[in-house]
Subunit: 74 residues, 12 copies
């Protein structure tokens, strides 16, 4: 187990509701084509403002996943 290799990718998720929803949206999208997602780290939290209100949150994440034996890295 101690020789595992992981890859980190950087994804920006958005949500009109909350920071947590923006994070979950990014994780859900990454999970559609990557098995074995393991952890995330928040890199930046931003958002758009429309008519003096927060229109949506944009959270940039690094998401780490285990590289399995057949996985191609690119």
């Amino acid at each position: 187990m101690s020789d595992h290799v992981y890859k980190l990718i950087e994804i920006v998720g958005s949500s009109p509701n909350s920071i947590e929803d923006a994070i979950q949206n990014a994780v859900t999208r990454a999970g559609q084509s990557i098995r074995n997602l393991r952890w995330f780290q928040v890199i930046e939290t931003r958002g758009h403002i429309d008519n003096g209100k927060v229109a949506h949150y944009q959270v940039t994440l690094k998401i780490g996943f285990t590289l399995e034996s057949g996985d191609k890295v690119s």
Copy 2:
């Protein structure tokens, strides 16, 4: 559109409820005297503790807005 100029100001919003409310409070306050608020970036998240509980969240934001032709910068 590609020659737009924006100004960034730094505002700290507070809320006893959530990080999102603290952000919205800062945005609302800035919107009272600035037209065309466009985006925010979270710079720091802090808070006060009272009797072992989070009393309120304090979120420092940079808020960007479009400078229009008549706007004074200072």
Copy 3:
């Protein structure tokens, strides 16, 4: 009052629900043995992913508290 001395400790709180709950869990735990907690600063927000969903948030905080006359620092 202006000669107060504070200590900062670094604590990681977790919660399956929200970033705010992870912060409160860290603060609650620190408050069990430290009097006079005063403020926190968020250092890092991470989390674990399980089956393509955020399993829990992990928030690293610095928590500041007043050192009183009898308190031992170590």
Copy 4:
């Protein structure tokens, strides 16, 4: 001279042509309402991409200017 006080503001300039033009556009705009601009520091260089080409550069600057005796700070 050694007791001068300066203010720093943060401005984002844009240009479809070059980083230098984006900087100059920000400086020109600030100079419309501020006397005595003195220096700038580049904080961030970004840009928009349209149809696989750089559509415009966006450069975030801090711009410093001398506060004169009658100037209001806010």
Copy 5:
């Protein structure tokens, strides 16, 4: 009290005497047109050298103040 909104501005103060005097000069200047200054954070300490001696210290501060109900933000 927990819904307060603050603004941060960036000011550079100078003094031939000491870092503390440079800080106080910046604070004094900001206080001439802003009520309710609350705190400062030192961002950078620099200075000019003349004939092999420190001619003056230049300290860049962020200064925070409470936005009151009538205050304009810009």
Copy 6:
């Protein structure tokens, strides 16, 4: 629109002519296999020196693009 998910990749472009050309070369190359490139951020500017002259500029960019429904992330 507020639920968009973006991916960020890191690309180094080079050019013997200018920083802008190095940026455009990186963007052009990424655009050959990615639709919907949206923005870039300059991470680092370096270069090689040959015979006391700048031989070429190397600019490291983060490039953001919209993930569309069929896109695979890896």
Copy 7:
């Protein structure tokens, strides 16, 4: 040669033995599906502790490689 374009990916390698082995494990894994690996930069060094001993080192690397004419970026 001065118009080369490179891609940077972020990989975490592990080893129970040494930091160098953790780096080599990450490089070896990336080399299984990428030609023309050129350089790495260490981003972070961490590790797991088991029974008071370092169980394994985990080193996060950025690895740079030349994009060749047929390579797909994603």
Copy 8:
């Protein structure tokens, strides 16, 4: 001597007089319960403003001390 182990703690000292006094106050307080204080590093310099004057300086320090054979770490 080359196998020494040190612990670093983070302390905030305050003083109405000077940055140096704020540092010394933090060091003095730490020295009441820790033997073998060895060095400090300034992490942040802040302060409170009252009626347009610096009311007190607050300096955050990391303070390093030698762990001796009987010392408990926690």
Copy 9:
């Protein structure tokens, strides 16, 4: 498991032999009085030089451990 709370402490380990030995020395020392050490992060690598040779490596670590129900935090 998702409500775990961890504490991070900062320790400097030294060794004349290698960076890995300096890390292990810090971990071993922390483990003498703390149960449940979980992970470390390297914060800084320095060293002393004597007669033109590296006399010993000094590695500053953050070490994380699980706070159990009876543990006192201070």
Copy 10:
């Protein structure tokens, strides 16, 4: 070749024309007394403003060069 030793020096170049010219001016000046300049990294981009225009760009570079067998380091 893998045992090469390099020295990095920090030089600020200026130019009224462009960032690239400021970089080249710094490199040219360093090349007058150093053989084997190899690469540069941009550390900071600043400039002076005169009458509301950019008077000149100032770019701080680290410049790396190979230390040859007879070179004195100081």
Copy 11:
């Protein structure tokens, strides 16, 4: 004047009295062999502790000076 080239060197000054004295000691020492010292920037402030008191301050500075036509860079 806008084509000036400057060199930056990094010097650590010490003083048992104050941060300002430590800065001045570093500047004085650099001025013994360098003409045209122009400015300094504080990079880090540390110090040694002896018997629970600050024994001396150590301030790391970058010091900038004008390269004149005959000056050798190395």
Copy 12:
């Protein structure tokens, strides 16, 4: 002793074997023309990859040494 002045230089050492050897190679080279080397700090760890293997490690160090009374600084 508390008035010592130190200079810091930045050196990159390489080795095909280990990070420690790359550090020692840099220190050895600096020691050929500088007396009184005192300490080093690792600034960056990189390396070249050849045929999918680490060809050599490159470690950038700051090396500090005592300036003695006759030493020229430049």
